[in-house]
């Protein structure tokens, strides 16, 4: 019995027990359902072992949407607790746990897989490739992310949630002040998911540099692919810092080192420093692909080419450099003095310039365009004004002297939600509507989509604008309650209304998926938006080899030109196609990594060693496996192409 005591929750509540029951019931229901409908084989063959970038992309997106609801549930609980002064819905400890998991889940397990999911689905299609450079590594990336996400998500029912904030600052995060295993979950789950992300970075960098269709020079790449390239460069240089910081944090918590301790020569603020050396580039990892999506959507629905292609590329390259030299703006108040703060204030304000260039390019694209207001376009139009609010307040925070007033108040919370929601979340929703027909062969309902977009946009404003005010009045972030005399009550009540609107908006999206699945017509062709880039030159549904023959690229919008001028995009004759085989190894490694992480969290060394051996065994097996992939014969390709309406 003693052995099992460690898995108990240190600070339980009826809601947590209810969640345990719910998790158990849902898991059993899934197993029973799969068995009843005899879907295990299908699941294994088509999804769990797949190395196809399109399917991995879809799995990333499904996982991201699930995590959006987990993080959203956290958010509603926090807003409900704060909606009235001296509220007793949650106690301080639960509030701490919830804001911690909310932040980690939303940034690392919602936003990241969302963008990586679209990168997976779109980038190979946009550059005319048949898959990514290392398909099996790509599957491993997904399963590592998924193992990390699941490990993090069970923390609140097994052993206790992390509670030191998504930034997990030391010395608070050290054993002395965070006694439960919660912060171990933080260190290890993020580590596992982070390794997956790093592998993705290398994989896509190689893919984009090496696998473009003949004729597609760098300056002829679609803008989303450009943004993915720059993003992956940032990933490759930023994520190792997180890896190292998390490893040092793990050593401190589990092996008694003192890297971040306040005693014995440790440097507690070194954690904050390393965290933000990764953390600021991370926010650009999130926003650049979102910008890429907006560029695609805006030029498609303004019915013209993107204004200022070269300046778009240049501004992203500049952002990629500048994003590495601003991190200190996250701790201006740490005490490093006016000189250092001034340097980082200037770099911070400088980064707003290339960002502004992009905004003006979109506006100028619209200015000369013939606008078609579809749901993805509506999200893009709502993005521009709302994101500007977040950006301008960011520049306010970037002035170090002023930041002493704003730092760690609700003003800061309002800033980053006003950049992340209109910036990243709107882009992902726009992409969901935009790419849905390519992914699933039918369109989502436009009217429901637009209603949802308006509800979400207004909900965002109602939820977060009041925080600017209560923040300036002095309401601190991460406080579980406040007094009536403070006068914050009204602002938080308004916020609660906004949060409910957001929840309603997301629920409407889910309903829209259900509704369109039932009612939407299926004969939409392969290019329903009359779009401009190569991904729309494929059939719907996309055959596993994407393109029967390689497209030949001569301008930046060759697909558009081929539609308008009638030039041929696919001049070659069909030849047999070489494709990678499916593999169970990535999935199995994902499971072992999950068990490895779980053992690590609870410092159970023997299972940890066994899992480590298991991981190496998988890698050895993988190295010695003799798998040269397979060929799809010409006849089979011709057959498929005929079924899909003829070779392009």
């Amino acid at each position: 019995m003693e052995f099992f005591e460690r898995f108990a929750i240190p600070h339980p509540s009826p809601a947590i027990y209810a969640s345990m029951v719910a998790i158990a019931v849902v898991s059993i229901a899934i197993v029973v359902g799969l068995t009843y409908f005899k879907k295990w084989g299908y699941l294994w063959r088509e999804w769990l072992t797949t190395v196809d970038h399109k399917r991995l992309g879809i799995m990333y997106i499904i996982a991201a949407i699930l995590m959006l609801f987990r993080g959203g549930a956290d958010a509603i609980m926090m807003r409900a607790q704060l909606s009235a002064p001296e509220n007793k819905l949650l106690d301080a400890q639960h509030y701490n746990e919830i804001f911690t998991t909310h932040g980690v889940v939303m940034i690392l397990f919602m936003a990241m897989p969302f963008i990586i999911g679209f990168m997976n689905f779109v980038v190979p299609l946009q550059i005319g490739a048949r898959d990514v450079a290392f398909p099996r590594l790509n599957a491993l990336s997904f399963w590592l992310f998924f193992a990390g996400a699941m490990l993090f998500n069970i923390s609140f029912v097994v052993g206790g949630s992390p509670d030191a904030g998504w930034t997990s600052y030391f010395p608070l995060a050290d054993n002395e002040f965070s006694t439960s295993v919660g912060t171990n979950y933080y260190m290890i789950a993020i580590q596992i998911a982070g390794l997956g992300t790093l592998a993705t970075g290398i994989n896509f960098l190689t893919t984009i540099l090496k696998m473009r269709a003949p004729g597609m020079t760098l300056m002829k790449m679609p803008m989303f692919t450009w943004s993915a390239l720059i993003t992956n460069v940032i990933i490759v240089f930023a994520f190792p810092v997180l890896t190292v910081a998390l490893a040092m944090g793990t050593l401190d918590r589990l092996f008694g080192t003192h890297f971040f301790a306040s005693t014995n020569g440790g440097m507690d603020m070194l954690w904050a420093n390393l965290f933000w050396v990764w953390g600021h580039p991370e926010v650009y990892i999130l926003i650049l692909p979102a910008f890429g999506i907006y560029s695609e959507v805006i030029s498609t629905f303004a019915r013209r080419n993107l204004y200022g292609y070269k300046s778009m590329v240049a501004s992203m390259v500049i952002i990629s450099l500048l994003s590495f030299v601003v991190w200190v703006h996250h701790f201006f108040t740490m005490g490093q003095g006016a000189f250092v703060n001034s340097i980082f204030s200037i770099t911070t304000m400088a980064i707003a310039v290339p960002t502004g260039v992009k905004i003006f390019n979109w506006l100028l694209t619209l200015y000369k365009g013939k606008i078609v207001m579809t749901t993805p376009m509506l999200y893009s139009m709502l993005f521009i004004p709302l994101f500007t609010l977040g950006g301008v307040t960011g520049v306010m925070l970037g002035m170090s002297a002023a930041d002493y007033q704003y730092h760690n108040t609700m003003f800061l919370v309002a800033h980053f939600h006003m950049v992340i929601i209109p910036g990243v979340v709107f882009a992902m929703l726009a992409a969901l509507y935009y790419y849905w027909p390519k992914m699933f062969g039918f369109m989502l309902n436009d009217r429901l989509g637009k209603i949802g977009a308006w509800i979400i946009a207004i909900g965002t404003l109602v939820a977060f604008m009041p925080m600017f005010i209560s923040g300036l009045d002095g309401q601190a972030r991460r406080m579980y309650t406040y007094s009536e005399a403070s006068g914050f009550g009204i602002w938080n009540m308004i916020s609660m209304v906004g949060a409910l609107m957001l929840a309603a908006g997301f629920a409407l999206i889910v309903y829209n998926i259900y509704y369109s699945f039932r009612h939407a017509p299926r004969d939409i062709g392969s290019d329903p938006w009359d779009a401009r880039t190569l991904e729309w030159a494929t059939h719907t549904p996309i055959p596993e080899y994407n393109f029967a023959t390689m497209p030949k690229i001569d301008t930046y919008e060759t697909f558009w030109d081929s539609k308008k001028k009638g030039t041929t995009l696919f001049p070659d004759k069909i030849e047999k196609i070489h494709m990678p085989n499916n593999s169970g190894i990535p999935f199995i490694m994902g499971i072992i990594f999950f068990l490895w992480g779980f053992s690590f969290v609870f410092a159970m060394w023997i299972p940890l060693i066994i899992c480590t051996l298991g991981i190496f065994a998988c890698m050895a097996y993988q190295s010695f496996e003799n798998d040269h992939g397979r060929y799809i014969s010409i006849e089979e390709i011709e057959e498929t192409e005929k079924e899909l309406g003829g070779k392009r």
Binding site: F237, L321, V325
Partner: protein, 97 residues
Amino acid sequence: MMKELFPMKQVMGFIFSLVLTAVALMVYFFDMSFAIGMTILLVTAFIQAGLQLVLFMHAGESEDKNAIYITIYYGVLIAIFTILGSLLTMVWTYQFQ
């Protein structure tokens, strides 16, 4: 003929890298101040890394040498920014205040 086959560059590089290692080892065997020792270590380490990269990892011998060099420069630049910036905020600023 013999001359073309003999990997002169690589052999010279190998000898040079041994020399660099020996120089770095001096820091251990001879008595010197921390600053001088650190300088020797840093300088030899960076030359060593560059040598390995160019001679033995064959950077610059393939078609995509531009891509390789650009990423290396980019990486070095980011590393320098990060290290100097961290030193500035975590150490130097307190020494000069």
